[in-house]
Symmetry: C2
Subunit: 286 residues, 2 copies
């Protein structure tokens, strides 16, 4: 076992149970953890931009990214039921503040339009999208921790197992590349293997886990859920590669030693989590 | 009277009553007019970016800009009361679609991060921010057209009169420049004159117009409203100049012959309108 693999394993052995504990605790604990990841993710995003010669407006960007998951919990009944109206007002004020600070801090030669735009885009990407995880954990007032945790882990497990299946399928089968320029190692065979594993695993997860915590979803709905979440998640993965490739970076950062940065770890989930929320709402679970 | 001034006057003589008619009609008529302006504004925004070597993703950008005012009306009781939830879900899907089309249409050398970010930023700027006008027109279910129209014209009149006062004050008094690099003609004296006119005019508008249509706001609230909306609006004006200056354009476009583009006409309002909504909500009017 190489030193790198040992480190990767150690980080996973600590990180996964710690993350699970925070999901189980839920509420402000989980919202604050998501806020920290949002700031770390936004930092990586802004570093991409810096390498491309654009200087995002850090402080308002980080503040916006961090506030998103806190606001997402605050509007839920378990979080106090803050009227959505005020979140909308806050978002608009934040948007104007980003514009205003850009005006104050960036000269016309500093590419201010791209600076302001990437400040907003990065905060939405790393703060607003993953804030949807809070909705899975607190799907209705006073839902049991076991139920909320089971719902959170549905897209997480599908994504992790799907990634592994995609890697294995690509390795074993080979064949034409999925996105040769962006992710030279990904193949169509791997993508199909990843999606197939999610389609099979989701109904199984429903039978073994969701039924036990009182969540009732039909098996065809879960199969469809697996398919859509897998495709969207894999697209999100390739999407992040585009931004890394633009500035010639291999990893987005070193937040998780041996696992790359926050964006590397969560790239699939940024797109998969809100998709999961929307689908479960359509299926009447949320 | 020069040909240019004649054209300016003719456009204003047609445009202002036409705009007033659409505000009076309200509802989908107004939402569709705002959607058209949103698309035209986003086009100008994206043209700034093109000149700076970034290529936003047009079609999803325009679609997002146009959908914002339509969605804003749809969630109001008068518009059918669409649950805000679905607007949030639609916004997230739109954000992912922008990311996905960027991936499909832009190579790493095409500055995809800035392209995706400016696509989102421009649509929010020209679509979401001015969509707040719909809330002023329909502040509560079944409000009379006269009341809603009076509320819409409160920030409009303050902005127009304030702009004129700022120009006059700057011309008459002169003195130090407000933002010499961005707007060489603006002076601090002009900015103070603009704000003062708004502080005086807003309570007057309250007495003469708002009281008559049954809207009850205290005079000190209106004076504060005038001050804040004027400062925010003037900042929005300078903010747009920053993006024009970045790419060396004098006007954002030629949408209104003799008056420049949509962004030139509405630059103050993009920031002033949502601010007006938030303040009136704080004052209990909305």
């Amino acid at each position: 076992m190489s030193a790198d693999l040992a480190r990767r394993t150690a980080v996973a052995a600590v990180g996964i149970p710690a993350a699970a504990a925070f999901v189980w605790l839920g509420g402000w604990f989980l919202a604050i953890l998501l806020a920290l990841f949002a700031v770390a993710g936004a930092r990586e995003f802004y570093r991409f931009a810096e390498r491309g010669g654009v200087h995002p407006i850090g402080v308002p960007g980080y503040a916006g990214a961090a506030l998103a998951p806190l606001a997402a919990f605050a509007v839920l009944p378990d979080g106090g039921g803050l009227p959505v109206w005020w979140v909308g007002a806050g978002a608009v004020i934040w948007f104007i503040v980003v514009g205003g600070t850009t005006m104050a801090l960036r000269a016309p030669v500093d590419r201010p339009l791209a600076a302001a735009a990437i400040t907003v885009f990065g905060a939405v990407y790393t703060g607003v999208l993953p804030a949807s995880l809070i909705i899975l954990r607190h799907p209705a007032p006073g839902v049991a921790a076991s139920t909320g945790t089971a719902l959170v882990f549905l897209p997480l497990v599908l994504t992790w197992v799907g990634d592994t299946a995609a890697m294995g399928g690509g390795y074993l089968i080979g064949g034409p590349k999925l996105a040769p320029v962006l992710s030279p190692k990904k193949t169509w065979a791997g993508a199909v293997a990843g999606a197939t594993s999610a389609v099979v695993l989701a109904p199984l997860y429903g039978r073994v886990v969701l039924e036990r915590v009182g969540v009732d979803v039909r098996l065809w709905q879960l199969a469809l859920f697996g398919l859509v979440v897998s495709i969207v998640g894999q697209a999100g993965d390739v999407g992040e590669s585009l931004y890394k490739r633009e500035v010639g970076m291999k990893d987005s950062g070193g937040f998780f030693p041996g696992h790359g940065g926050v964006l590397d770890r969560f790239d699939s989930l940024y797109w998969a989590l809100p998709t999961a929320v929307i689908l479960l709402r359509l299926f009447g679970v949320l």
